[in-house]
Amino acid sequence: MAFVRPFGEQDVPEVAELHRRVLRANAPACNGWVQDYRNYFADVFLNDAARSSGLASLVYQREDRIAGFLGIMPRAMRFHGRPLLAAVCSQFVVDPAERGQAGLQMLKRCFEGDQDLSITDEAGDGTRKIWQWSGGATALPYSIHWIRPLRPTQAALAVGRERPWRAPLAPVLAPLARAVDAIVTRPSGRFRPTPPRGSREPLDGPALLACLSEFASACSIAPDYDARTVRWVLDRARRRVDYGPVRALLVRDDAQTVAGWFVYHARRGGAGEVLQVAAGPRHRRQVLDHLLDDAWQQGVALLSGRLEPTLAQELSENRCLLYRRGYWTLVHSKRPEIAQALQRGDAFFTRLEGEWCLRFP
């Protein structure tokens, strides 16, 4: 007999084994990997916020064996100023021997929960199919990504490095790529970011919280962070050292007014992943200019991020290529107006609010 039930601490070793076997089959063998998983689950899916929200991650159990896991992270948000409890779904994994009804049953059970909104923003095509069958929908505006080469030759190398057979070529070609980039990125060249006006300064947790309170409420749906959650989110992002150091910066205009901010991973010579960029209506271009300029100064080869619908025009005008990266943002709500707000791009929902910070390190 099979059934879906809440995930608990006692399930960690079995879920860890399942997760590693299905999603990380090529992970190098190392001592202490179970402890790494224990730490991860304790921090992400079994933390105080998860316990106090009443939302629990789910496992699919057949007889005495766990054959599926769906991670659920509660996220406090607001809908037209009123509290909204979102369940960010992540790490959806089903034992290959149980594929079929297990995934459907887990999602159905998840959607029956007390949350106002279920959301996932790194879903593949398979999850999209079962999500939609279970009553959910695709939020297209949040399923589009953008990419902006800063050093095009090094960018091409960085992309190639991700393919195993090209990796050995990268160190050999890197000096040549740098030389070519020095020519094609000369000042006034098309790849060189425009020198921005105004100034930028480091953005810490309290300042980010203040910015979010001021700017994000312009959207129907906005995150409702407290100081602890902001600290947690930034801390989780900073642990992704493989993506480069996190840079969080506040942008001011010439009159010293806050224009906006951005948070991104600055990987020298590689892809810089943008987690959050926000700007007031009059300062969108200026904040983007600062983001590109900062990435340029940090030696980033290309920047990549998820489309913020309010920035679509400015991204496009700044030679950012919009494309679908392979991830879908999927939503489900018992209240249609909530899902519709996301479907029309009327939500402040960036990668910082989504699954990025829930990834296994």
């Binding site: 149980e98 594929r99 079929g100 297990a102 199919k129």
Partner: protein, 99 residues
């Protein structure tokens, strides 16, 4: 429209073989566990449900989709047969009422 459970099962088997690229090797799939045997995954179930619903003009509820019967072609054909029968009974009851 298929009229017997065997015919329904044939239609479903043809669909599964075509969509999930299962080579015709003479062995019948009718009683095979579609998921444990690895023929159909979670996303495949959704395609199978959509096919069955549109082909036989029925609507499957969660109870039917998550039942043990929905793990084999014969079982699915049995569900379709039952729903088709119920549907035609509703229609004939409707005719009587309309008279």
């Amino acid at each position: 429209m298929a009229t017997s459970q065997v015919e329904i099962a044939e239609v479903i088997e043809r669909f599964i073989r075509r969509e999930f690229r299962i080579i015709e090797d003479g062995a019948s799939l009718r009683e095979a566990h579609l998921y444990e045997s690895g023929y159909v995954d979670s996303a495949g179930v959704v395609e199978l449900i959509a096919f069955v619903e549109s082909k036989f003009h029925i609507s499957l509820d969660d109870e039917q989709v998550f039942s043990d019967a929905f793990t084999t072609i014969s079982g699915i054909a049995g569900i379709v047969m039952t729903l088709e029968k119920m549907g035609s009974e509703v229609i004939s009851r409707g005719h009587v009422l309309n008279k």
